[in-house]
Symmetry: C3
Subunit: 339 residues, 3 copies
Amino acid sequence: MTYVRDAWYVAGWTPDLPRDAPSAISILGEPVVLWWADGVLRAHEDRCLHRLAPLSSGRCEGASLRCMYHGLLYDAEGLCIEIPGQDKIPDGARIRSYPVVDRHSWAWVWMGDPALADPALIPPAVGFDDPDYILGRGFLDYAAEARLINDNLLDFSHLTYVHAASFQATGVFADSLPKITPLERGIRVERWVTDAPGLPQRGGSGPADVWSTYDFLIPGVLLMTGGNFPVGTAQASNFGPPDFALVEGGTTFTSQAVTPTGDGTARYFFSWGPHRNHGDEAMRDALMEVAAMAFAEDKAMIEGQQRIIDATPDPRIMPTVHDKGVTIFNRLVERLAAA
Amino acid sequence: MTYVRDAWYVAGWTPDLPRDAPSAISILGEPVVLWWADGVLRAHEDRCLHRLAPLSSGRCEGASLRCMYHGLLYDAEGLCIEIPGQDKIPDGARIRSYPVVDRHSWAWVWMGDPALADPALIPPAVGFDDPDYILGRGFLDYAAEARLINDNLLDFSHLTYVHAASFQATGVFADSLPKITPLERGIRVERWVTDAPGLPQRGGSGPADVWSTYDFLIPGVLLMTGGNFPVGTAQASNFGPPDFALVEGGTTFTSQAVTPTGDGTARYFFSWGPHRNHGDEAMRDALMEVAAMAFAEDKAMIEGQQRIIDATPDPRIMPTVHDKGVTIFNRLVERLAAA
Amino acid sequence: MTYVRDAWYVAGWTPDLPRDAPSAISILGEPVVLWWADGVLRAHEDRCLHRLAPLSSGRCEGASLRCMYHGLLYDAEGLCIEIPGQDKIPDGARIRSYPVVDRHSWAWVWMGDPALADPALIPPAVGFDDPDYILGRGFLDYAAEARLINDNLLDFSHLTYVHAASFQATGVFADSLPKITPLERGIRVERWVTDAPGLPQRGGSGPADVWSTYDFLIPGVLLMTGGNFPVGTAQASNFGPPDFALVEGGTTFTSQAVTPTGDGTARYFFSWGPHRNHGDEAMRDALMEVAAMAFAEDKAMIEGQQRIIDATPDPRIMPTVHDKGVTIFNRLVERLAAA
């Protein structure tokens, strides 16, 4: 499967990465160790130069990371600075460093050419330090290609079928098309659902015009918000973005990121929660319960899809009108991957 | 491994296939969905045209089956008749249909050329609608090639060793040969065990002459009956089939079917129970307990055999005199598979 | 991975091999059955000639082993001596026999040319029949190449890091080098740790000069002893082997053997316990608790190392000064394997 190398991949929730011990993640099949060098997040290949032991089984020593097999010590740049029992360290003894940024409560790792690692390319997610939102978080490991999860997130017509129970989604998602706008590194998907009750856990007591908008960005990051507006707002806004001053409730934010870990496997990170003006910790917890149910529905369907693809000698798809976003995004992936 | 495509494979016990939801099975490595279109059994490839989601995770809607990923709807012939949000359905949008017949409580699926799917080729099993027999049923999933299970069922000399405990089998199965007769699509195996106690769970209180006969038919279906006769009947019958008017008890029927599900895996379906004149529900339950023990003995041996074969660079066998049935049947398989 | 075929591999602890039933082991990917022919240990390919069923699922009958699938019988030399229901046994019907020796409580199996199977090449381990030692034993199955376990045992500098907790190992193992002497089929590793407390479970109440010496022999067998001596003994011995008449305590023996079972798997056998003059059953039990902790530490590190190697397209190592023993031994392996 083709993925973009010159991109920032989510490697973990930074609040969940222990400060005094390294963490392991695999990205695009490459083992990566995350650790804090005197409080600064670092990412390196998870592989000691000596005999390829995992540095994620190592020990943090201030601004250094020690392999706990035979004791080789590495500095924050990945340079080997100590070999126990040996005076001389071979020239160029250095493990690969990956550019890494701690932002929006996520560890973003750049898997491509370090010279191109521009932090401005990091999607503008919402972290736990954001004063406006009360968020919960989690992750799921998939036995499926990241591409299949991306496809799922790029076409919300599946809500009508996969999430009829969890999100109480109606036929509108399948029967009508959202507005899709290509962005430089992704797409924007906007939709009005008019005169609807809205999700009770989100404060929906309808009827309201429910607005939702999300960006899906390279390499596989979804950022979504929206809210409930007075009935008629959609029409008054000419079915475009509303004036948020009119919002009556239901504003939440969700960040979701899909990281290809290996061949046929992926890790799916997510957060969700209400705007502080429209909800509280109890609403966040209720939304996380909905998310647990909904994301399990997706996982069952997508892993089933992967099993069928694996059992298919020459897999071909038949795109539908709902695949516009999928098609635009995957073409962008192919173009950036080829660059 | 070579299997015959132009054959009816058992895909499930129809009493166990839910009427209101589809079921999944894999046959010869192909994912198949079984479902009831307004009460009529259907079999299709278990793969939505759109993005290859499993239709076995879908929803039955009268005579139609809906993919529950993005809502595509298929009719009983596999024709796509609805794509949500889209007016036009592409010409030829159709999933593969497999000929399927509900007979003898089994779903029989034809994996080869549909034009050759003659229901007359379905082996004459005994189902739960048969007034003469009181049957139990079950299935086991094997981590072994179907061929190895067929071989097991084609040579009952293994009873003496594998089933000494469960079937209380004596040396007669290994020390003497049954009569084997080639059939158009299989073989017939007949045997007298004279002056024997018989299996207590089968009503055997001996001594009796115990007659057994089974057909083993393409693609891998065993149909077996027999009974206990007065001592001397074997001799009086010139060791051929007895006059069933003389039977004193012990008549049971067992249907067994071996379906290759994938590379190195198989599903083994079985039923067993007494003739109504010779037993009751209690005897059926006792026989099913014997079967559970015996079929676990087979499974352990055959899965062990598969592991050894997998660890053998150039596996060769050394046929014995007991392999006559195995050899005849497997040559038939090779011949039909090549046709 | 390259291993020496002309070598004695440990296949099991003979006190743990049931006398009345065969046992299965895989060595270098070959299935081997171990059994007692009238009390004499035998080793053959674990594969019936007939249809490749595992003979380890068979039955011991005096000096013969019967396949319990269809009843073929083999004598102690692997010759087929009975085929049920068949008078004639094909010429040359014989399973492969492996030379096997029951010595030092281990079953040693020769995997190469039988003509070269010289029992004098069996490493001089210590078994449970040795009157001087009170030993415990066990084994662990690894999801890693035997070679990686050998490497671990050939370089004790890992004690400082991997076993800081279990063995209370100090920096001396990593900071200084042991004396390494090449042997005809392995290496000898000797070390003094001076003025040290010693391991409490070993009777160490320090300070003492602690001597340890081990041979690591083809194909992967470690034999180790040592003891606590008065402070100053190391110096007085010119840091060479001490006069054991001076030993004050702490003498133990450990035999460890690494057997490659298959591709990326190994079985690691071990024993440990005190000399009868320096300990008792309670000390043995305390040492086995330390071993359980320490060998789990090794297993976690080495299986992690294997996972990283598997994820590395072109794995290369960077040897250190501690790799002298590893390098000498692995060159010997390559030389003997090529011979």
